[in-house]
C-alpha cells in the first residue's frame, strides 16, 4: 500500500465511509463496526473466497448507458442504485467509488443460514471434547447466523479423526471446513508448501503431501488461524478450556524481533502462548519455538532460595566491597534492569572495559527469528550500559581473571561458561549470580539471588527496529524468587546509591530523564503496538540482524 492511499467514499448499510481504494468489504465493514462473518478470509493471507460465508448484497449508482448521466430515482430524488440480483462475497469485493453494500437484508440472512447449514451437515458434534470450543468461529457464527436446528437425517461423513500432521500439529479431518487458511499460510508465509486437499466434494480431505510433514518452526500458526478445531496443538491439546484462561500481553524473548504475544494462564500456571497482532512487527504470526518458552517458569532447574532478599543483598554487598569488580549484564534484561545495572556499575566505579554484555548469535530465519537471540541488545545501548556491540566471547574478562585483576564478578542472567570462561577461571573469582535457572555460573557462585522470568515481571524491551515494547506479568513470581528490579535497586541502595525502593515508576522516571531517546515517555503508557524511538545515535553500529518480516537492515 502506498504511503498516502487514495480515499474513496462507499456506503455500507446506509452509512457512508471513506476507505482506501481496494479495501475489501469485510475490512471496510469492520471500520464501521459491522460484522461480516467469514471463515476463509484472513487479513494477512491471499483471498480465495471459498467458504462463501461473507456474502453481501452489492450495488452501484445507476448511469444511463447512452448519455452517461446519473439516473435519478424520482422517489428519493437521489441517484438510483442498481442492486445486483445475487449476493457477492465480501472478501473478494474491493471498494470502488460509489460502492453500495447491504449486510442486513433477507437475501443476505438466507445466504448465511444456507452456508451455515451446508458447513454443519458433516461437522461432528464434538464440541464437548473439541479444544476450539470457546474460540470457534463455526460455533459462534452458527449461533449468530445459523438456523438453530438440523434438518439432516442422513449419516454424516466419516473421515480420519487423529492424524499427526507434524510433531506439534494434530488434524481432525471431520471438523475441517476446507477454508484452506492453513494451506495458504504454509505456502505463502512459512514458504513450506506441505499441505493440500485430496478427494472431491464432501470427501475432500486436508492432508500432507506424501512423504512430507508439517514440521517447520511456524507450523503452530496454522492452529491459530484454523477457524474450527480441525488443527490442534499437541502441546495444548486437552490441557484446559480457553474460557478459563487469563490473557496477558507479552513479548517473545527468543530474538531481537520481539514478536508480540499473548500468554494464557490460569491460577498462576501458563498453558499456552499465542501471537498478538502487530502489523509493524509480526503481523499475526510467531514461531513454534517461542511458544515453548513458558516451560521455563516451572523448569526443574529453576533457582529459588528461602533466604530473605535483604540477607542475600548484604552478602553480595560484602563481596563487592573487596574491589576488582567486573559486571556481566544481560541483553535479556529489561530496559529498567539494564539501567539499574549501569547505575550499580557507575557507583562501584567499574571501568568501561570491565562492563560486559555477552552476545547470543545464531543464524536468522528470515522471518521472525533474527540473528541476535536476545530481546534487548538495543536497550543496553540506549541505557548506556554498553557503547559497543556485544561479542560472544568474554575474552577481556577471561584475561582480567587470569591476570588477577578481577576478583569479583556480578553476573546478571547470563552463564559465563557459554561465553568462553573455563571452570578454573570461574573458581578463581567470587561470583554473585542474579538469575532464573541453574547453570555452571550459579553452581560456581558465592551468592545466588534467584530472579523472575519474563512471564513473572513487567518491563520493556527494545527490538531490532528500535521499537520500545511493553510486556506484563502473566503469573506471580515462583516461590523463593525476587523481582529483578527489586534485587538491583536493593543492591544499588545497599551500596549507597539512590534508593528507588524497587518502584518501577520511580526507576522509569529517572531513566527517561537521563536517556534522550526515552524522554517524555510515560511509564506504563506505551502503545500496544510499541513506540519507535530515535535510533540516530546508534546508526554507526553494524547490527548482526539480516532481513526479516518488517525489518530491513540499514546499509
Amino acid at each position: 500500500m502506498s504511503a498516502t492511499p487514495e480515499l474513496i467514499k462507499i456506503n455500507i448499510d446506509g452509512r457512508d465511509i471513506a476507505v482506501p481504494r481496494g479495501t475489501n468489504v469485510i475490512e471496510a465493514s469492520r471500520l464501521l463496526g459491522i460484522d461480516v462473518p467469514h471463515y476463509c478470509y484472513h487479513p494477512k493471507l491471499p483471498v480465495v473466497g471459498n467458504c462463501r460465508m461473507c456474502l453481501v448484497e452489492m450495488g452501484l449508482p445507476a448511469v444511463d448507458p447512452a448519455t452517461k448521466t446519473p439516473v435519478i430515482d424520482p422517489a428519493t430524488g437521489r441517484q438510483k442504485i442498481n442492486w445486483m440480483p445475487r449476493p457477492q462475497i465480501g472478501c473478494g469485493t474491493n471498494a470502488i467509488p460509489g460502492l453500495h453494500i447491504r449486510t442486513t437484508t433477507q437475501m443476505v440472512k438466507d445466504a448465511r443460514a444456507g452456508v451455515m447449514e451446508f458447513l454443519l451437515i458433516n461437522h461432528p458434534l464434538d464440541c464437548p471434547i473439541c479444544d476450539q470450543a470457546g474460540e470457534c468461529k463455526l460455533q459462534e457464527q452458527a449461533t449468530s447466523y445459523g438456523r438453530g436446528y438440523s434438518r439432516y437425517i442422513e449419516d454424516k461423513n466419516v473421515k480420519p479423526k487423529r492424524t499427526q500432521l507434524g510433531p506439534r500439529v494434530m488434524l481432525d479431518d471431520e471438523r475441517c471446513i476446507l477454508c484452506s487458511r492453513c494451506v495458504r499460510f504454509s505456502k505463502e508465509v512459512a514458504k513450506d508448501d506441505v499441505l493440500g486437499f485430496i478427494d472431491r466434494g464432501s470427501y475432500s480431505t486436508l492432508t500432507c503431501y506424501p512423504g512430507k510433514e508439517l514440521a517447520n518452526n511456524y507450523s503452530l500458526n496454522t492452529v491459530d488461524i484454523c477457524p474450527v478445531g480441525a488443527l490442534t496443538s499437541t502441546d495444548f491439546r486437552f490441557k484446559m478450556r480457553v474460557w478459563f484462561l487469563k490473557q496477558t500481553n507479552s513479548i517473545d524473548t527468543e530474538s531481537s524481533v520481539g514478536a508480540n504475544t499473548v500468554v494464557w494462564s490460569r491460577e498462576g500456571q501458563i498453558y499456552r502462548i499465542t501471537p498478538r497482532r502487530n502489523d509493524e512487527v509480526n503481523d499475526t504470526w510467531m514461531s513454534d519455538s517461542g511458544r515453548d518458552l513458558y516451560k521455563q517458569v516451572r523448569a526443574e532447574n529453576r533457582l529459588s532460595s528461602p533466604a530473605p532478599l535483604a540477607d542475600l543483598i548484604a552478602q553480595a554487598k560484602a563481596l563487592l566491597a573487596s574491589g576488582g569488580v567486573a559486571l556481566v549484564a544481560s541483553a535479556r534484561s529489561t530496559v529498567a534492569e539494564q539501567y539499574l545495572a549501569k547505575k550499580i556499575a557507575d557507583h562501584l566505579k567499574i571501568p568501561a572495559d570491565s562492563r560486559h554484555v555477552p552476545a547470543h548469535l545464531a543464524k536468522g530465519d528470515g522471518l521472525l527469528i533474527s540473528a541476535d537471540r536476545t530481546p534487548n541488545t538495543r536497550g543496553a545501548l540506549v541505557t548506556g550500559l554498553i557503547d559497543t556491540l556485544p561479542s560472544e566471547k568474554l575474552t577481556q574478562l577471561a584475561a582480567g581473571i587470569d591476570a588477577g585483576k578481577i576478583k569479583t564478578v556480578l553476573v546478571i542472567n547470563e552463564d559465563l561458561s557459554l561465553h568462553g570462561l573455563a571452570p578454573e577461571q570461574l573458581a578463581r573469582v567470587d561470583i554473585i549470580h542474579i538469575g532464573t535457572h541453574a547453570s555452571a555460573t550459579s553452581a560456581a557462585a558465592k551468592v545466588v539471588i534467584p530472579s523472575h522470568t519474563v512471564f513473572e515481571k513487567n518491563g520493556t524491551f527494545i527490538n531490532q527496529q528500535f521499537r520500545l515494547q511493553q510486556f506484563n506479568a502473566a503469573v506471580p513470581g515462583h516461590v523463593g524468587t525476587h523481582n529483578d528490579a527489586t534485587i538491583l535497586s536493593g543492591l544499588l541502595a545497599a551500596l549507597g546509591g539512590h534508593d528507588f525502593e524497587g518502584k518501577s515508576n520511580a526507576i522509569w522516571s529517572r531513566l527517561t530523564e537521563e536517556t534522550p531517546e526515552l524522554a517524555g515517555l510515560a511509564h506504563g503508557n506505551i502503545p500496544e503496538t510499541g513506540h519507535l524511538i530515535d535510533a540516530a545515535r546508534f546508526s554507526h553500529h553494524a547490527f548482526p540482524e539480516t532481513e526479516g518480516l518488517h525489518y530491513k537492515p540499514a546499509k
Binding site: P128, V158, R162, F238, R241
Partner: protein, 182 residues
Amino acid sequence: MSVIKVPRKPLTFAERTYIPQIVSGMMTTLKHIVAKPLTVNYPEERPEIPAGYRGVPTLVRDPNGREKCVSCQLCEFVCPPKAIRITPGEIPADSPAAHVEKAPKEFEINMLRCIYCGLCQEVCPEEAIWLQNVFSVSGYERGEFINNKQKLYELGGTLPDAHYKWDKKKAAAEEAALHGQH
C-alpha cells in the same frame, strides 16, 4: 409523612375469658395426637426421596461401563461456588473408548462448597453428572468432603443412556472402514 392512628378494637367478653382460644388450641393438639406423624425417626428411618431430588452430585457410567464424562469442564465453569475442579486428560489409544478421545484425569467436587443447585447436571452435554439421592454427608476431616473421581463413580453407578452417541459414532467409523472409505 403524616402519622395515621389506627384505632384498636376493644376485646369482646368471650375474648376476655380466653376460653374459646384455649379450646381451639387444645383441638389442634388433640388432632395431631391421633393423626399420622409428619416427622420420621431419623436416622433409623429415612425419608422417601421424591423424583428429581437434588442430592450429592455424582458421575455416572453408561450401561456398557464407559465413563460418560468427557471433561468438557462446562460444570466447572458454571458451578456458582466453584466446588468442581477437573484435570482433563486423553484416553489412551489402546482403550475401548479411545474414539471418545477425552476423559477426566481427575475430577474433584468439594462438598463443603457445593450448594446442590444442580446447574452442573443441567449444563452437562454428555449427561454424565447427576445429583442423586444421597443428602447426608458427614466426616471427621475436611479432606473427607472432597469427592475424587473414584468416589464420584462409586456414588454414581450406572444410568441408562438414551443416545449412545459415541457408540453410534464408532459403529459409523467401522462401517465406513468396511466400505473402504478412509
